[in-house]
Symmetry: C2
Subunit: 191 residues, 2 copies
C-alpha cells in the first residue's frame, strides 16, 4: 500500500533493551530532564559505567527510547496499511493506537509529550513519515486545517487521556472499550 520506511536504527541488543525499558519507566515518572544516568543504572542494579558501555551519551539513550516508542506506532500503521479496504485500514489504525495507549498507559503519554522528546522529533524523518501515514489512515487525503486539527486532537486525546486522574481507577478493559467507542464517534464512524 506504500513504500515501507526503513527502521529508525539497528535493532537493540538485550542489554540495550534493558537500558531503554528502565529509561522509559523513569522518563515517565520524572521526565527526561529529571532522569539521570545514575537513576537508570540504579534501576538496573549496575553502575553508570556499565550503562555508558551500551550508549555513549544520555542523548543517545533519549533518542533510542523515543524511537522505540515511535516504532510501536509504526507497527500499527503498517498493519493498518496492509488492510484490504480503506474502511478496514481505518479500523485497524484506530484500534491499534487505542490498544497501544492503554497497554502503555503509564508511560506513553508522558514520554511522547516531554518537551525534550518533542524537540528530538521536530526534525525526525521517521516521526514525520509515521505521523503523516497515520493521518492519512484516519482522515484520508489532506483535508486542510480541519483534518490536521482532527488528527492532532485524536492522537492527543488517546495518548493523553490514559494518564488523567479521572480514569486512574478504571481497569484496562473498561478504559479501552470507552476510548475506542469515543474515538470512533469523534471520527464520525459507526459505533
Amino acid at each position: 500500500m506504500s513504500t515501507a520506511a526503513a527502521p529508525a536504527g539497528p535493532p537493540l541488543s538485550a542489554a540495550q533493551t534493558r537500558v531503554i525499558n528502565a529509561a522509559q519507566t523513569l522518563f515517565a515518572r520524572h521526565g527526561v530532564g529529571g532522569t539521570s544516568l545514575q537513576m537508570i543504572a540504579d534501576e538496573l542494579g549496575v553502575t553508570k559505567a556499565a550503562v555508558y558501555h551500551q550508549y555513549r551519551t544520555k542523548d543517545e539513550i533519549v533518542l533510542a527510547a523515543a524511537e522505540t516508542e515511535l516504532r510501536r506506532v509504526q507497527v500499527v500503521v503498517e498493519h493498518a496499511e496492509a488492510a484490504r479496504s480503506t474502511r478496514q485500514a481505518r479500523d485497524r489504525a484506530i484500534t491499534g493506537i487505542v490498544d497501544l495507549a492503554v497497554e502503555r498507559r503509564h508511560t506513553v503519554g508522558t514520554i511522547l509529550g516531554d518537551p525534550i522528546i518533542v524537540g528530538f522529533f521536530a526534525d525526525h524523518d521517521l516521526f514525520r513519515d509515521v505521523m503523516l501515514r497515520l493521518r492519512h489512515l484516519l482522515v484520508g487525503e489532506d483535508a486542510g486545517a480541519e483534518g490536521r486539527v482532527r488528527t492532532a486532537m485524536l492522537i492527543a486525546a488517546t495518548s493523553g487521556a490514559v494518564t488523567h486522574p479521572f480514569v486512574a481507577d478504571l481497569d484496562d478493559d473498561t478504559l479501552r472499550t470507552q476510548l475506542l467507542q469515543l474515538a470512533r464517534r469523534f471520527l464520525g464512524l459507526p459505533a
Copy 2:
C-alpha cells in the same frame, strides 16, 4: 451555582509573577526537571540569590507555576458556573478551555503534562475540585466510566493538540475555530 473554592494561595507580588512567567516559559521548553534556577535567573537577568529571595525552594516555584496555570482554568469554570442555563454554562466551559489552550498553546500542554506537575496535582485539593466542576459542566452528573473517559479525552485533546506539529503552522484563529467545532461535536452538541 456552587460554593466558590478559596484561591490556591496568596496573590503573587510583581517580582514573583516575573519569576513564575519565566519559569513557565522554560518549563515548556525544557521540562520541569530540565529547568534549573540558574536558567530562570538568567532569563530574568538576575542572579540565583535574587530568585531565592522570592521562593525558598525550586519546588515552591514549580508548585506556584502549576497553580498559576490551574487558576486560569478555575476562572473559566467559575464564569461558566455563573451562567443562567446549563446549556449556556456548558458553552462557556468549552469555549473557555479552548480559548485558554490556544492563547497559551506554547506552554499549557507541556506544563500540565509534565510528570512532576502531574505528581504535584495528584493530591491537590483545588486541582481535584476544579476538575470535578469542569467535568460536571461538560458531561453533567457523573455518568460513570463513559463520562470520565469523555472528559479526560476532551481535556487531553484540547490541551495536547495545540502543541502537535500538525497544527504548528495554523494561526490562532484558525486553530481556535477548528478546535471549538470539533470539541462541540465530540460532546454531541450542535455546531
